[in-house]
């Protein structure tokens, strides 16, 4: 995944950050248990937010224990015990990681292709374990959605919103997996707008690089202007409006989540009101990179210190 869905650390309460890290580390550990140690490399902030939203939707709580982990063996750290939410997110993450790699294999060239070829056996085994664990229907859903998305992208349709909506639908279905009624509707809406947000933001983020390497980029198809090697100010402003419109949809959906846990509620509003708008500013205008975020690389990072592992699967 992409790693855009993150908190804004300076505005977090210490307790909230502790909670976030417990879920983040808990998810990592759950991934190790469910889909194999290798899958922990694909850990992302995005699925941490998914886990938080799922918990707010279902009311499931976490038990936090102090544990050691392989990546940081010296110090014990608080970690959420695996629960059904974390297990679901771990499996969903494995499935999406695999289909993302497949996707890269289809249309990347050069180094990226080599990298995708190298990791594909691992992601394939992660996916197999997820399917065995009973997530076969999710897998086939993701497979079809990715195929549809790929077909739309290769048709070079002059649109960013259409593929973004397809991607959003995929996220919505993943987030609503196994839920019913209004909760499912709410989950779908959150997933849809998060997915659209991520897709459009990622397209904007990669625009200049994709133009340089003549790779596919939905925004390049939309603007159809080969002379524009990087986004003009006007386009950046337009994209900001579009992305913030997405956030206002998200706001309405987040307002309907009710959680009794003030830490969880605080984390979610931190992400919505602080984290995501800052990602928009950072990607589009290169600002909002205040001292607190300097330690965090573009798409990698850790709530506390640099993690060094691939955020991007």
């Amino acid at each position: 995944m992409y790693g855009y869905l993150r908190t804004h650390v300076p505005e977090l309460k210490v307790r909230q950050q502790e909670y976030y890290r417990a879920v983040y580390c808990g998810l990592c550990r759950t991934m190790g248990q469910c889909t194999g140690q290798c899958s922990r490399m694909t850990l992302s902030y995005d699925f941490t937010l998914f886990a938080l939203v799922r918990m707010a939707l279902t009311g499931e709580t976490v038990t936090v224990r102090s544990r050691r982990c392989i990546a940081h063996p010296l110090r014990k750290r608080p970690m959420a015990d695996p629960n059904s939410t974390l297990r679901l997110c771990a499996n969903a993450s494995a499935i999406l990681a695999h289909h993302k790699v497949k996707d890269d294999l289809r249309d990347e060239r050069g180094l990226k292709r080599t990298a995708a070829t190298a990791v594909s056996p691992f992601t394939a085994s992660m996916r197999r374990r997820a399917v065995k664990a009973g997530y076969g229907d999710m897998d086939s859903g993701v497979f079809h959605a990715m195929k549809e998305l790929w077909e739309l992208e290769t048709s070079r349709i002059p649109s960013v919103d259409e593929p973004a909506t397809l991607f959003g639908e995929l996220m919505g279905k993943t987030l609503a997996y196994g839920l019913e009624g209004n909760t499912a509707k709410l989950a779908h809406s959150i997933g849809l707008h998060l997915g659209r947000f991520v897709y459009i933001l990622d397209a904007a983020d990669d625009y200049a690089e994709d133009m340089e390497h003549r790779r596919y980029n939905p925004l390049a198809c939309l603007y159809g202007d080969p002379a524009m090697t990087e986004l003009s100010d006007r386009k950046r402003e337009e994209l900001r409006i579009a992305l913030l419109a997405e956030l206002s949809e998200l706001e309405r959906a987040f307002d309907l989540l009710d959680t009794d846990d003030p830490d969880l509620g605080g984390l979610l509003s931190n992400i919505l009101y602080e984290g995501l708008p800052r990602q928009v500013e950072r990607v589009l205008f290169g600002s909002a990179c205040d001292c607190a975020q300097k330690g965090q690389g573009k798409k990698t990072g850790h709530p506390r210190r640099r993690h060094g592992k691939g955020e991007r699967s």
Binding site: V14, E18, R75, R77, N182, S189, R252, D255, L256, R304
Partner: protein, 213 residues
């Protein structure tokens, strides 16, 4: 029904103003206008219903309490168990006891104002005292007839100047727009000694990051 205080996110000891502003903040949050063009409109509508019911419930409870206390000062309702006015009758449904005022009060609390007005109209004109005017005033407020309400409350206060409930109702009506801007609700989470210890412990973990660079 769930605890109405929990739904509004305030403690049972909160003042009327706190309850009101919590209610307002939530009403804004779930306002149908905000969700007008959204597929989540239905869910927001349900939330709105829930908080409306909770707010009504609290007001009902407090109105009952007010009537039951002789020296109401409007400060705190905290912790006491709720008993209806006039000897702890329940408010689930209106009991048609002989006293038309009791019946009318119950009906008003259930927001069945038309029936309450009907009951009050049976009181002969010569017997209509302060309580009658007060209750008529409440009915008028419920119907949105604020000018009439002011008149009824004035009369009630004139007839029984010592009654705090009547005075309070009159003041509230006069100041009904003064409550605006009384601030947002903040759900303050409890901060116990333990939390502080935990926070210090966390800070220790966060700041002492010597180990894994």
């Amino acid at each position: 029904m769930n605890d109405p205080y929990k739904i509004l996110g305030v403690s049972p000891t909160a003042t009327d103003d706190e309850v009101k502003s919590a209610y307002r903040a939530l009403a804004r949050k779930y306002h149908p206008d905000k969700y007008r063009d959204s597929d989540l409109a239905e869910m927001a509508g349900e939330k709105m219903k829930e908080i409306n019911a909770a707010y009504d419930e609290i007001q009902k409870m407090r109105a009952g309490k007010t009537a039951g206390q002789s020296g109401y000062g409007g400060s705190s309702y905290g912790g006491q168990t709720y008993g209806g006015p006039y000897g702890g009758q329940t408010y689930g449904q209106a009991h048609h006891s002989g006293n038309p005022y009791i019946t009318a009060r119950q009906l008003i609390n259930l927001r069945r104002v038309a029936e309450a007005a009907q009951v009050l109209s049976t009181v002969p004109e010569s017997d209509r005292g302060a309580e009658w005017h007060f209750l008529m005033g409440c009915i008028a407020v419920n119907r949105g007839h604020f000018v009439d309400a002011q008149q009824f409350f004035d009369t009630a206060c004139g007839m029984d100047p010592a009654n705090a409930e009547y005075r309070d109702a009159r003041e509230r009506l006069r100041n009904r727009s003064a409550g605006f801007g009384s601030g947002q609700t903040t759900r303050t989470s409890a901060c116990s000694c333990c939390d502080i210890c935990a926070a210090l412990a966390c800070m220790d973990c966060c700041c002492g990051n010597g180990c894994c660079r």
